[in-house]
């Protein structure tokens, strides 16, 4: 059991919770929040209090009952993805589907030096830091003084100070003041085209650079593409990415009633079927009920096997942003080494 403060939970996996760690308090897929463990703090939800002191030394992932015993939470390790679901929103944030795809198409991996503008709520910054550590570096820029200060504090509290450098700067006006330094650039700005000239200068001169502009509107995409072309970027591609979650439930597969059976009835089977459906309903988080027509079927149908079914959830996110990618080739011809 450790009671010392760690360098920061986000920097590397640990097995046990320590003082100062960020803990994800997980109650259900839709009730996820975060706790910073202090010596005498207490986390409270509607089922009671959860003293921080009892969290210290527990293995990550432990189930923890409230003091009243009426409920419990799971103490989860703060992966960038769980952090994204629980972090304090200061802006519209990037979610996992876009984050994952951008990470792949910018070829992020340990050792990559990259630029992000703007920092926003720091959702993507945490994910980038995880992927490029321990040898890479993220230079992130935020033009709001308030968001800059909050993110700066957060990065150092999370032990990411050696991976992330944050600056308070309006890059569309003042550029990045960097040249020949980075492998990849991500721009989540209202007018990314205003920063593209500075972005071009920031790329390493002798390496192939990758850029992504994240814009919710098509008008922005068109202006961005024009600017990218004018600046000599190539392989311009644009995508939308979404994640489609599925609901899984058991349904009864019933055989068609035989002629003549109709009058006999089969009350026992119907009772069994209803009981089975009640159980499978309670399995579904959110307690979705079967549609009415399932209950209006005839009593005379014999109960048959169960079928596990799946369907996309009824209402899902339909749009986040358009992702425009481009490549910047070195401006000199390659030489043989």
């Amino acid at each position: 059991m450790t009671t010392t403060t760690t360098a920061g939970t986000f920097r590397a996996y640990s097995r046990h919770i320590a003082l100062g760690d960020t803990v994800i308090a997980y109650s259900s897929p839709k009730t996820i929040t975060y706790i910073t463990v202090t010596a005498d703090g207490e986390f409270c939800n509607s089922y009671g209090g959860f003293p921080h002191s009892s969290m210290i030394g527990k293995e990550w992932g432990s189930k923890m009952p409230s003091k009243t015993g009426k409920g419990f939470i799971y103490l989860l390790y703060p992966t960038p993805e769980l952090w994204t679901l629980s972090l304090p929103h200061r802006t519209q944030i990037l979610y996992q589907p876009d984050i994952s795809f951008v990470t792949a198409l910018l070829d992020l991996r340990p050792g990559v030096k990259m630029i992000e503008a703007g920092t926003g709520s720091g959702s993507f910054s945490h994910s980038i830091a995880r992927t490029i550590a321990p040898t890479g570096h993220l230079y992130t820029f935020e033009f709001s003084r308030d968001r800059y200060e909050k993110a700066n504090l957060e990065f150092s509290e999370h032990g990411l100070g050696d991976i992330i450098t944050i600056q308070h700067r309006d890059v569309c006006v003042d550029g990045f003041d960097m040249s020949d330094m980075v492998d990849a650039i991500f721009l989540d700005l209202p007018a990314p085209w205003d920063a593209l000239g500075a972005a071009k200068r920031a790329f390493k001169r002798k390496k192939v650079g990758r850029i992504c502009c994240f814009s919710p509107c098509m008008e922005q995409v068109l202006k961005t593409c024009t600017a990218l072309k004018e600046l000599g970027f190539v392989e311009i591609q644009m995508y939308e990415v979404l994640l489609r979650p599925y609901d899984v439930r058991k349904v009864q597969k019933r055989s068609f009633p035989k002629l003549g059976d109709a009058k006999k009835g089969n009350a026992g089977a119907e009772k069994k079927r209803k009981a089975a459906e009640a159980v499978s309903d309670s399995d579904v988080p959110g307690g979705e009920k079967t549609s009415g027509e399932d209950h209006t079927t005839t009593l005379h149908v014999p109960l048959n096997e169960e079928l596990i079914t799946s369907k996309p959830q009824a209402e899902v996110r339909g749009h986040t942003s358009y992702l425009t990618f481009a490549t910047l080739l070195p401006q000199e011809l390659p030489v043989r080494r």
Partner: protein
């Protein structure tokens, strides 16, 4: 036949195969290995490359010292002429199997001066061969000159465009398309890309999707974030997608950490790994253990097995193999892994049940399958298990757009990939008895008290259940 134990002083554990750490050689450690993947930015002898051709098709080739790389109608060149040059840059074939860095002007074709009136439509456009003023002979001559390197490709295309009577009548958008088409037809410019997990995924998804279990690049990217893949961590993996997922993990770890693969047969078929141009030290990170050796086999008991050789080198090799197998098994049994990744045709639920005890708390299990039906039962298992939370079944969806040009024509591509597969994931947790859990009893009608399994999802008792 010789009894093994008499011939050699082997410090095998007494009698049967107890998994004591003593007497087991240390497996190579990954500490202090530099960024191994990034060493390979320069084309060297025997390097693999994903060659992107003017047609945008890709070809996976190995640059051997004496080989001629054949790009079909785009020509061929001597592989050794590229040794020492960087990957990912454009090169062009010219003359007699010659190759050289390509002029960047080829990309400038997109931005041609297209000075005609706006608002042209194809109303007056008649498509016929005579629209081109140059004769076929003249074009062939220019192509030959271009091949010899006397005429740059962009000049060739420009001449053809200028001699097209109908070109001016085309709409801005179809002009761009026309140029692009000619560019693909006449250019000999190709890009040898350094193989990466993304590159291999994109190549095989087009070329031979079955080889990689139809795993699409966006789905692969979701797997890596869902699994919190990072440098320095330790992962368990079952990879029946030719090793593509293993490639992706290796790349995101850059030589720091540990991957233990569980696989069929004695040797592990993760063929795609070889394309990453990794140094042999990669095996310090990547270890494999066959399913059949999760428990000790008879052929690991040197005292009681029959050995048909007295050759010391072969005996040494045998001893080394046995001890290494034991070490890898001890590694698995020691547990504490940071993630479990599965692409397998075996029963997913059984694999999860077999391997999840070796996962540390709050670590993910991520399963991929091109068929969601093979994961539905496992989904219910994970959702209802007290050892997992946050079970999710998802499908990644991606739409690519036709390149927006200043003139016109922004819309999704007319054809797209219909599916990139499904991901099942959950987080392993450490269950404990809580008052809440014990209160989870419900009275059923006949008065008996039955234990109702906690779904672990609500975080609160449903005493009214």
């Amino acid at each position: 036949m010789v009894e093994m134990a008499e011939k050699m002083e082997v410090d095998t554990p007494e009698t049967t195969q107890s998994e004591t750490p003593e007497g087991v050689p240390n497996l190579p450690s990954a500490l202090d290995i530099p960024d191994i993947v990034d060493d390979g930015a320069i084309i060297a002898e025997n390097s693999w490359a994903i060659v992107q051709m003017p047609s945008d098709n890709t070809k996976l080739v190995q640059f051997k010292a004496n080989s001629v790389v054949n790009l079909g109608k785009f020509g061929s060149f001597h592989a050794k002429d590229l040794f020492g040059y960087p990957f990912d840059m454009p090169y062009e074939v010219y003359g007699d199997k010659q190759v050289r860095p390509a002029s960047m002007n080829i990309y400038a074709l997109d931005a041609f001066d297209l000075e005609t009136e706006e608002g042209t439509t194809n109303k007056d456009l008649v498509d016929r061969r005579e629209a081109q003023k140059l004769s076929q002979v003249e074009i062939e001559q220019m192509k030959a000159d271009s091949l010899k390197g006397q005429v740059p490709v962009e000049n060739l295309i420009k001449t053809i465009v200028e001699n097209s009577e109908t070109f001016d009548k085309k709409t801005e958008f179809s002009k761009a398309k026309y140029i692009k088409r000619k560019q693909k037809k006449f250019s000999k410019v190709f890009t040898p890309r350094r193989p990466s997990a993304r590159g291999l995924c994109e190549h095989f998804f087009k070329d031979n999707p079955r080889r990689i279990c139809e795993l699409r690049v966006d789905t692969l990217s979701q797997i890596l974030t869902t699994g919190n893949v990072r440098s320095g961590a330790r992962y368990l993996i079952v990879d029946e997608a030719g090793g593509l997922l293993t490639c992706a993990l290796v790349e995101r770890m850059q030589g720091r950490g540990e991957i233990l693969q569980l696989h069929d047969h004695e040797t592990n078929n993760v063929d795609l790994i070889k394309h990453l141009n990794l140094p042999p030290s990669i095996h310090n990170v990547l270890k494999s253990l066959p399913w059949t050796r999760l428990t000790p086999n008879d052929d690991e008991d040197m005292e009681n097995m029959l050995i048909r050789t007295t050759d010391e080198t072969r005996l040494d090799r045998l001893r080394h193999r046995i001890l290494t197998t034991r070490a890898k098994r001890a590694l698995l049994y020691a547990g504490g892994f940071d993630g479990l990744f599965i692409i397998s045709q075996y029963d997913i639920k059984e694999i999860i049940e077999t391997l999840s005890p070796y996962l540390a708390g709050s670590r993910p299990v991520v399963v991929y399958s091109p068929y969601k039906e093979t994961m539905l039962e496992s989904f219910l298992h994970l959702r209802n298990s007290r050892d997992f939370v946050n079970a999710q079944l998802t499908e990644s969806w991606i739409r690519e757009y036709q390149l927006p040009t200043a003139a016109s024509g922004t819309h999704p591509l007319m054809r797209m990939s219909g599916s990139g597969g499904y991901i099942l994931s959950a987080i392993r947790v450490i269950d404990c008895e809580t008052h809440a859990a014990t209160a989870r009893r419900v009275r059923v009608k006949n008065g008996k008290v039955a234990e109702v399994k906690s779904t672990g999802e609500e975080g609160v008792e449903q005493e009214h259940a």
